[in-house]
């Protein structure tokens, strides 16, 4: 049994498994969060049957409690990553976390893309990174409530079946048939992982519509702030006042837009135009 240690924001945990392949996938997704030793916190165990404890081929235990079993290891891994995200982002106390993709524009300044799951934000982030933007996150914009600056949450991107970027990049066969497929920003474009804090230059709410036209609509800052509150991930932890303060500060000086898109290349071109209209 091999055990790896991780610290994702304030959430420390270990992942144990006898499967080098599963641990390798965990390391790929959470590489930037791996730490030396075994931090105190949650204990995840990815079990490969038969070990006497599981009836399925693969299983996930959290703190010794059986949580999930499947014939497909990707399901157990995805469940574990969902749990990590929920704990790490939902219980963050020092930052306000918005469910959003985030990139750094080539000229500087963050572009954040708040959206619910299934809106195409990971695919759009992947497209933007390929086009020259630096990667901050496909999952969470971490906002400093004192400054409004955004920090990276640079786990590997999770691309769903049908994502055009999924067809373009990465080693063939690695989880190619899985519902969610993980690819690092470095695989999309070497040197594309950003670090540090970035002032927000544009807030863009993406909305994927299959076969739909690409259309942008400018929002007032107030409209954008109200919309952003709907994508908060840790409001119960940080409280409503801190959440509003962070959103207010993050959007000061930013331009705000809604982006409907049905084609990735058109969406990337639209984001380029919107960023050009935003103060650098």
């Amino acid at each position: 049994m091999t055990t790896l240690g991780f610290l994702v924001l304030e959430h420390g945990f270990t992942v144990s498994s006898r499967s080098a392949r599963l641990l390798g996938e965990v390391q790929l997704v959470l590489a930037s969060f791996q730490v030396e030793g075994e931090p105190p916190g949650t204990r995840y165990e990815l079990v490969v049957g038969p070990e006497g404890r599981v009836k399925t081929d693969f299983g996930l235990l959290i703190d010794g409690v059986w949580l999930s079993g499947s014939g497909d290891p990707a399901h157990c891994l995805d469940y574990m990553l969902w749990h990590v995200n929920k704990r790490a982002l939902g219980q963050a106390t020092r930052e306000v976390v918005v469910h959003a993709g985030a990139v750094r524009s080539p000229e500087g300044g963050a572009v954040i893309l708040p959206a619910i799951s299934g809106s195409g934000k990971s695919t759009l982030v992947a497209g933007l990174v390929t086009a020259g933007y630096d990667y901050l996150s496909d999952e969470a914009a971490r906002i400093d409530p004192r400054t409004g600056a955004v920090r990276s949450f640079a786990k590997a991107l999770s691309l769903k079946q049908g994502s055009p970027q999924r067809l373009r990049v990465g080693p063939a066969g690695r989880g190619a048939d899985a519902d969610e497929w993980h690819v690092t920003a470095e695989e999309l474009r070497p040197g594309s992982t950003a670090d540090g804090a970035e002032r927000v230059r544009a807030v863009i709410f993406p909305r994927y519509r299959a076969e739909g036209d690409t259309r942008t609509t400018q929002l007032t800052r107030v409209e954008a702030c109200v919309e952003m509150t709907r994508h908060l991930l840790n409001r119960p932890t940080v409280g409503a006042a801190m959440a509003l303060e962070a959103i207010d500060r993050a959007t000061q000086g930013a331009t705000c837009w809604r982006l409907d898109f049905g084609d990735l290349d058109e969406a990337v071109a639209a984001v380029n135009r919107l960023v050009e209209q935003s103060p650098s």
Binding site: V222, E223, P236, G239, E245, D248
Partner: protein, 102 residues
């Protein structure tokens, strides 16, 4: 819904309303943005509604209307129609509650 459980009845001039302690408010540009801490529901109030929001300290709504009419000089029926509509929406959203009777 009943007086004392924190949830307002239908709003009329005798209703006493106050800002819910579960709500955070922040002035953003020319609006007051409210965010309910528990439900996560948010709303943006325009300048006039924001002034009304600031006046909701548990006094009867009729007193709030009197204050607005005295400052604005607008006709009371017009003010009442607008303000009661706003207060009804805010109370439905859980942004307001009624203080328990003393």
């Amino acid at each position: 819904m009943s007086v004392g459980d924190g949830t307002p009845r239908s709003v009329d001039e005798t209703t006493r309303l106050r800002r819910s302690p579960d709500v955070a408010a922040r002035v953003i540009e020319d609006h007051v943005v409210l965010l309910h801490a528990r439900s996560g529901v948010s709303v943006a109030l325009n300048r006039t509604a924001g002034i009304v929001w600031d006046m909701l300290d548990g006094s009867p709504v009729g007193d709030v209307l009197d204050d607005i009419v005295s400052v604005s000089g607008a006709a009371r029926p017009d003010v009442a129609a607008q303000v009661l509509g706003v207060l009804h929406e805010l109370s439905q959203g859980g942004f307001l509650d009624e203080p328990a009777p003393r």
